[in-house]
Symmetry: C2
Subunit: 341 residues, 2 copies
DNA sequence: TTGATTTACGAAAACGGTTTCGTGTTAATA
DNA sequence: TATTAACACGAAACCGTTTTCGTAAATCAA
């Protein structure tokens, strides 16, 4: 078990000082040609790599970014994460990821853990419980310490920071309008209890579409599933209501509802249309394939990482603050066979 | 922007030495009651938290574990990761994740990046390219440095380390046997080019099942899709071969093939049966729902993390080596409507 | 030859902790 | 009362870097 080579080792071996070694490896002008070459050759030969931890301690930055998301087995978050990882990696940043599991406590613990020097900045989507409790002290703590933070998808106005969001309202409006124009009149909304900003906004778009097309909003056609994935609520809902279209805030709700109604003999899209959020594998491989809104997670992740890293590196030159941006990613309605044109 | 409190700050404020503060916060017996209480009260009041980086540098361990997987938008890997994260977190470890994107170079870069002090140990599933190239020098490098490593799912015999695997051969055998017993005779295998240990083993189980039940292996019924997801190859294959059952090494292949054949008028499971690996959302929500082998990613991840952390903490007491374990997780055949009983 | 620069390098502080060891006080013992 | 042990704390080394600053030797100008 070879121990890792340190500057001190090289210095001893070559009979020079540690500072000379350090400077040589950085190709400093201060050091003479011969010495530099000697040191560099030695370092290459024995495959010297600086100790990240020591560098981090000295330089006060870690080149790590912390990501906290509510769930990892989840198509959308996973694509966002891919976007973050790809962009961050290309700039030499590593990603430390924690999952809050939709729990407030875990979110708090994780952010405190990471905030103590492990990372240079955070990218987060709020946990369900956090949005429910509306308690963001752990986040103000973070921002007050000057740690850059960008929130995506599940955000809050309470925290002043960079944000990246989907145009939830607009795209929900677009989706519902599409179905209305195709002649649908009894359009159901499958959503979650609305302490989520995304649920609220999508519902807003849904209502607006109905209203602008002269359709009354029937509150009975809005199903708000409780937080803990009580997908079972869908069965009685779709069984007991006469509907000819469904907008669901995720693909699971949509596919599940579609399956139920198909088994009851309804034809998709002849008798009923479906549109879901999250353009994942489920949508692609359903039968019929599901029309759905692509949230462009990769793009969101990339943008979030870009904003974060800009802010991190701005801090070095003591940039100005308070000019937080919130960027909107435009969703795309991917039309498949679960709707008619 | 409040700067973080350090031991030095507390020491100065309280008129004691840094060592006294440090020891007080660890509740050392060396320090008198009053002093300890004073320090602890002050620390709590101003919410002192030690700097992780400094602690890591001093203690030579980071409480971080590095995970490198080929893909993150992938049900199985994602469940494994969840298992790792949950277990690691419960023991105070954080998880740094890198995705190799099935690329050898990225895998190498990422492992080298993390190996330089950022983590205490690795959990990895090999990238496709790595298994293809059969070049594992970056891993021997890691193990030679005494960094614990556990490989899961995509492993190699070339590296001596802890491993956790699915009983691929046995469970494939079981799956195929089930279909044979239900009267299927023309069973196709949808797999990948076999530089993957998993593909090899699953094929082994497939062949063994046929042979043990007195069925000849028809090489034409084995489709090896090239590495870069050339799922398009499935269409001509299932169109041009007469088959009554399919075993696929992942759910996407299975669902895709099922969709094609259904659109050609075949009834599932009356005319043809399907079994896939990866018991994900796709399997659950397909119509009909897909019988599939659950790989118990959560359990694999938890076990991998357990083995890794045991080895990490063993190192502290200079434990013995060379007694590497490879644990086998038993897959479970989840029977749904794509097969008959 | 002398003084001023430049060159090439080393000493040491710093990052923020942990830990060993030494020491001045006080309490216990002979 | 003198000796020793226990107690409570501080000084300093250390982890592996980076970086500032000081300085001896070499080079230059006068």
């Amino acid at each position: 078990m070879r121990r890792k080579l340190t500057l001190k080792d090289i210095a001893r071996e070559l009979g020079v000082s540690i500072s000379t070694v350090s400077k040589s490896l950085k190709n400093s002008e201060e050091i003479g040609r011969d010495t530099k070459e000697k040191v560099q050759a030695f370092a290459k030969l024995y495959n010297y790599k600086p100790n990240n931890i020591a560098v981090s301690l000295k330089n006060k930055h870690t080149k790590n970014i912390g990501v906290i998301i509510p769930d990892i087995v989840h198509y959308f978050f996973t694509t966002v994460f891919r976007g973050i990882e790809k962009y961050a990696n290309s700039l030499g940043y590593n990603v430390i990821i924690c999952v809050s599991d939709e729990s407030f406590d875990k979110e708090v613990i994780n952010t405190e853990l990471l905030a103590n020097g492990s990372i240079d900045g955070f990218i987060m989507a709020l946990s369900g419980e956090t949005q429910l409790k509306n308690d963001y002290r752990h986040l103000t703590e973070v921002t007050e310490q000057g740690i850059p933070l960008v929130l995506f998808d599940r955000v809050t106005d309470e925290i002043k920071c960079d944000k990246v969001l989907l145009n939830d309202t607009e795209i929900a409006f677009e989706a519902v309008s599409k179905m209305i124009k195709a002649g649908r009149k009894k359009i159901a909304l499958l959503t979650t209890e609305n302490f989520f900003n995304v649920s609220i906004n999508r519902e807003l778009g849904y209502r607006k579409a109905l209203e602008e097309h002269g359709l009354a909003v029937n509150e009975n056609l809005i199903l708000r599933l409780p937080f803990n994935e009580q997908i079972d609520g869908i069965y009685p809902f779709v069984s007991n209501n006469e509907i000819d279209a469904v907008l669901a805030v995720n693909e699971i709700f949509a596919i599940h509802a579609m399956g139920i109604l198909q088994s009851k003999g309804m034809k998709v899209p002849e008798d009923i249309s479906f549109i879901g959020f999250t353009n994942g594998l489920l949508s692609k491989y359903a039968s019929p394939p599901l029309t759905s809104v692509a949230q462009h997670g990769d793009r969101m992740g990339e943008l979030a990482a870009k904003m974060l890293i800009e802010r991190i590196e701005m801090n070095f030159v003591e940039g100005k603050e308070e000019d937080f941006r919130t960027e909107i990613i435009k969703g795309t309605l991917i039309e498949r066979e679960s709707t008619v044109n």
